[in-house]
C-alpha cells in the first residue's frame, strides 16, 4: 500500500513537472480573490500564446515551452512563494503581474540570476539597465503613462495646461503611488494644480473622493486603479455627472471589467493603451485553428480578444521573442536564465516583425540595450463606446516627456544602486 502511494506521488510529480529540455516560463497568475476578474484574462492570453507556439511551431527554436501556472491571488507573500517553488524548474523569466511582488523579487533576481519582466507595471526606475541588470519593463512604465496622459491633455488644450485643475484618484498602494512624483513635476512644469485622492483597497466605497471632485470641479481626473476600484470610480464619476471624456485611466484601469458594470454611464471614458486590442489581427486565425478549435484554450475560453487577454498575449509575445534572441546569441536552443537575460537586453521588435507574428500595429517597436530596459514608453488613448461595448483607439502612440522622466529615473535607480551596493554598468 505504502509503495503504491509513493509511486503515485512520484508519478504525480513527474507529470506536473516540465520535461528537463523544455523552456520553462512560469505564469504567475491570479484566478482567485478580489483581483481575479483582471488576472484571469491576462493568464489566459499568456497561456494561449505559448500553446499556439507549441502546437504550430513545435515551441521556440524547436524547444517546447512549458508554462507552469502558480496562483498568487495578487498577494505578495504568495507571489514570493510561487517564485521560490518554481525557480528550481529552470525558470527562464518571471512576469509577476503585481508591483508588490515585483518589488520583492528584484533583490532575489540579483542573487538567483533570473530575469524579471514587468511590462507596464513594477518598479519604474528598473528602466535604467545600468542599475537593474536583471529587470526589464519595456515597452512602457507608470511614469511614461503619467507623462503620456499629460501630453494628451496638453494637445487637447492647445499646448497649455496653465491654471487647469487635475485630480489623481489612485489605489492607495505602491502601485497607485507610482505616478505621483512624475505628475507633481509635470504640474510644476506646465502650471496645473494636482490634487491627490487616495482610495483604500479594495475601493468599493469612494463617496468621499467623488464628493470632493464634485466640489473642486477639476478639469480632468486621472486614475491609477485596479480591480473593483476602477468600476466603482467609473460609476461614481457617472453619478456626479463628471464629463467622462475628461476622465482618463492608466492601462490597468482600461479593461472591459472597468466599464461594463456602469453600463451607459461609462460611455466616453478614456484610458491609456500600450497595445492594441480585439481580434482583428491575423494571429487570431492561428489561435483559432491551433488553440481554440483544438480545445486547448486556457481557462473558460470566454476572455478571448479582451483588453487584458490581449495584454497577456503581448507579454507572452515579447518573452517568446526574447527567448528566440537568446537562442540566437547563445547558439543553442536549450537556453538558461542567464542567456535569456541576454536575449531581453538585445531584443529588438520592429513593426515588420510584429506583422510577421500576426500582430501588425499592435504594439510599439522598440530596441532594448544595456542601459535601456524601459523602451520608448509611448502609449495610445482608447475610449469606451457603451453602445457598441467596445474600446476604440482615438490616438496613435504618444511619446512621453523624457526631459522630465529621465532625471526621475536616474535619481530613483541611483538611490537603489547605493542602497543595494550595485556598481553601475554599461560604461
Amino acid at each position: 500500500m505504502k509503495t503504491k502511494f509513493v509511486s503515485l506521488v512520484v508519478a504525480g510529480i513527474c507529470a506536473a513537472a516540465p520535461a528537463m529540455a523544455d523552456l520553462v516560463i512560469p505564469n504567475m497568475s491570479y484566478r482567485t480573490g478580489a483581483y481575479a476578474p483582471g488576472g484571469i484574462p491576462y493568464a489566459d492570453g499568456f497561456n494561449d500564446y505559448f500553446t499556439l507556439l507549441n502546437a504550430r511551431d513545435g515551441g521556440i527554436g524547436g524547444e517546447k515551452v512549458s508554462v507552469p501556472e502558480c496562483e498568487t491571488a495578487y498577494n505578495t507573500e504568495k507571489g514570493v512563494e510561487c517564485y521560490e517553488a518554481t525557480k528550481g524548474l529552470g525558470s527562464l523569466v518571471y512576469n509577476p503581474l503585481s508591483t508588490g511582488i515585483t518589488y520583492q523579487l528584484i533583490p532575489k533576481a540579483l542573487v538567483d540570476h533570473i530575469p524579471i519582466y514587468t511590462p507596464g507595471y513594477g518598479r519604474t526606475s528598473a528602466a535604467n539597465g545600468k542599475v537593474f541588470e536583471w529587470v526589464f519593463n519595456y515597452p512602457a512604465n507608470y511614469w511614461d503613462g503619467a507623462s503620456v496622459a499629460i501630453k494628451y491633455l496638453l494637445d487637447q488644450n492647445g499646448g497649455s495646461l496653465a491654471g487647469k485643475k487635475i485630480a489623481l484618484v489612485y489605489h492607495n498602494s505602491a502601485y497607485g503611488k507610482e505616478p505621483i512624483r512624475t505628475l507633481q513635476d509635470l504640474a510644476a512644469k506646465h502650471g496645473f494644480t494636482l490634487t491627490e485622492l487616495p482610495v483604500d483597497a479594495p475601493g468599493q466605497e469612494q463617496k468621499s473622493q467623488w464628493l470632493q471632485i464634485r466640489r473642486d470641479k477639476p478639469d480632468y481626473v486621472l486614475m491609477w486603479g485596479w480591480g473593483v476600484m476602477n468600476a466603482v470610480a467609473v460609476q461614481e464619476a457617472a453619478n456626479i455627472k463628471f464629463p467622462m471624456e475628461n476622465f482618463i485611466g492608466v492601462w490597468w484601469s482600461g479593461s472591459e471589467n472597468d466599464v461594463v458594470p456602469a453600463g451607459d454611464g461609462a460611455n466616453g471614458y478614456k484610458s491609456l493603451a500600450m497595445h492594441g486590442t480585439g481580434m482583428d489581427y491575423p494571429l487570431y486565425a492561428d489561435l483559432k485553428t491551433f488553440v481554440y478549435d483544438a480545445g486547448k484554450a486556457s481557462g473558460n475560453g470566454d476572455q478571448i480578444g479582451s483588453v487584458l487577454y490581449s495584454r497577456g498575449v503581448y507579454a507572452a509575445m515579447v518573452i517568446a521573442e526574447a527567448a528566440r534572441k537568446a537562442q540566437e546569441l547563445a547558439g543553442t536552443s536549450a537556453i538558461n536564465a542567464v542567456q535569456m537575460r541576454e536575449g531581453f537586453e538585445n531584443l529588438e521588435i520592429t513593426e515588420a516583425r510584429m506583422a510577421e507574428l500576426g500582430l501588425p500595429n499592435f504594439g510599439q517597436p522598440f530596441a532594448a540595450s544595456c542601459a535601456d530596459h524601459g523602451g520608448p514608453g509611448a502609449a495610445m488613448l482608447q475610449q469606451w463606446d457603451a453602445t457598441a461595448k467596445k474600446w476604440n483607439l482615438i490616438t496613435g502612440f504618444i511619446a512621453p516627456d523624457q526631459e522630465v522622466l529621465d532625471p526621475l529615473i536616474a535619481a530613483d535607480s541611483e538611490a537603489f544602486a547605493k542602497e543595494a551596493g550595485i556598481t553601475q554598468r554599461c560604461n
Binding site: P202, Q204, L211, Q212, V228, I240, N300
Partner: protein, 328 residues
C-alpha cells in the same frame, strides 16, 4: 451660509446614506448572533453568493458550466433566456433558503452544544467553501447587476437644496432606495420577531436554548429559519452593493465595513445595527472631509475601527447590546 458648512452638511447626508449600506450587511450578522450566539464569518460571502446567484439566474447562466464543459467536452454557457428581475430575486431567495437548510444539515446539526468558538471556526470554513463554490458555479468574472434600481444623482434633491442654500447637494438615488429598503427590512424583522409565532420562538432560543428546547421549540428549525432570513438579508445587501460596483469577489469584503458597525451598535440589536451604521457612516465621512486632507486622505477604513474602539472603551457591549452581567 458658509461654503464649508454646506459641504459638511452634504458630507453628513452622504455619510448617513453610506451608513445605511453598511447596516444592511451588519443586519445579517446580528440576526444569526442574536439567535445562536454565533459570529457568522461567512455573512459577507453569503452576500456575494446571493448576488452571483441572482445575476446567474437573471441572465440564464448555466451553473457549473466550466466543470460541465471540461468533463463532457460541451460548450454550454447560457440557457438562452433572461428572467425578469423580480422572478430572479424570488428564485435567488429560494436558493438562499435551500442553502440555509443544507448548512443546517451538513454543518450546524453536528455542532449542537459545541463552544461558540467551534461554531465560529465552522463559519470560517463555510466562508471559504462558499467563495469557491460561487466561483465554480458562476465564474470569477465581473458581472453587471441590473434589477432596475435607479443610480446617479437625485435631481430633485439637487434642485431643492440649490434653491434653499444656493448649492445643490449630491445624493445618490441608489442610496435613497437602500434607505427605504432598510426601513422596510427593519420594520418587517421587528414585526416578525415581536408578533409571529416563529419570531417569538426565535427570541426564546436567543434568550435560553435549553429553556426553549424544554418547551418544545425545535432548535434545528430555528437555525434554518434564522440562516434563511440572514441569507435573504445578504441577498438584499448583495443587490445594493452589487448594483453599485458590479458583482465580483470584492463584494464579500463588504463584511469588513460591517464589523465596526457591530462593535459600535452591539451584536444583538437590530436597531443597534442601524444606528451603528449611521454613526460609522457619518463619522468616517466627516473625518475624511475635515482631517483627511491634512493626513494624506484614505482615512475611512481605519477611522471606522478607531471610532468603534472608542465606543467600546465606554460600552463594551456596544450602544444597544445586552448588558454583560457576570454572577459569581
Amino acid at each position: 451660509m458658509p461654503e464649508q458648512l454646506l459641504y459638511a452638511m452634504e458630507v453628513t447626508l452622504n455619510g448617513l446614506m453610506a451608513g445605511v449600506m453598511y447596516s444592511l450587511v451588519a443586519l445579517g450578522f446580528v440576526l444569526i448572533f442574536k439567535a445562536s450566539g454565533v459570529f457568522n464569518y461567512a455573512q459577507g460571502v453569503l452576500a456575494l453568493f446571493a448576488a452571483l446567484t441572482l445575476v446567474g439566474l437573471q441572465n440564464g447562466q448555466v451553473p457549473f458550466a466550466h466543470v460541465i464543459n471540461a468533463i463532457f467536452d460541451t460548450n454550454l454557457h447560457t440557457f438562452g433566456w433572461k428572467l425578469p428581475a423580480l422572478l430572479a430575486i424570488l428564485l435567488a431567495a429560494a436558493v438562499m433558503v435551500l442553502l440555509a437548510i443544507i448548512i443546517e444539515r451538513l454543518v450546524l446539526k453536528h455542532l449542537v452544544s459545541q463552544a461558540p468558538i467551534i461554531l465560529f471556526m465552522a463559519t470560517i470554513g463555510l466562508a471559504y467553501f462558499l467563495e469557491g463554490l460561487g466561483d465554480v458555479m458562476w465564474g470569477a468574472d465581473i458581472k453587471k447587476l441590473d434589477v432596475g434600481l435607479p443610480q446617479g444623482i437625485s435631481d430633485t434633491i439637487e434642485s431643492l437644496t440649490d434653491r434653499w442654500f444656493g448649492y445643490g447637494f449630491f445624493i445618490d438615488n441608489l442610496d435613497i432606495v437602500a434607505t427605504l429598503v432598510a426601513v422596510v427590512l427593519v420594520a418587517s424583522l421587528t414585526l416578525f420577531s415581536q408578533y409571529s409565532k416563529q419570531g417569538r420562538a426565535l427570541r426564546a432560543v436567543a434568550d435560553d436554548h435549553q429553556a426553549a428546547l424544554s418547551v418544545g421549540i425545535s432548535l434545528r428549525f430555528i437555525w434554518v429559519l434564522v440562516w434563511s432570513i440572514a441569507g435573504f438579508v445578504a441577498l438584499v445587501a448583495g443587490i445594493m452593493w452589487g448594483t453599485k460596483s458590479g458583482v465580483q469577489f470584492s463584494l464579500s469584503l463588504i463584511a469588513l465595513k460591517a464589523l465596526p458597525v457591530l462593535m459600535l451598535g452591539g451584536f444583538t440589536s437590530i436597531p443597534g445595527a442601524i444606528v451603528g451604521g449611521l454613526i460609522i457612516g457619518v463619522g468616517e465621512k466627516l473625518f475624511e472631509f475635515s482631517i483627511g486632507p491634512m493626513v494624506g486622505g484614505a482615512t475611512e477604513n481605519w477611522f471606522a475601527y478607531v471610532l468603534a474602539l472608542l465606543f467600546l472603551v465606554f460600552r463594551p457591549q456596544g450602544l444597544f447590546g445586552e448588558k454583560i452581567i457576570e454572577r459569581v
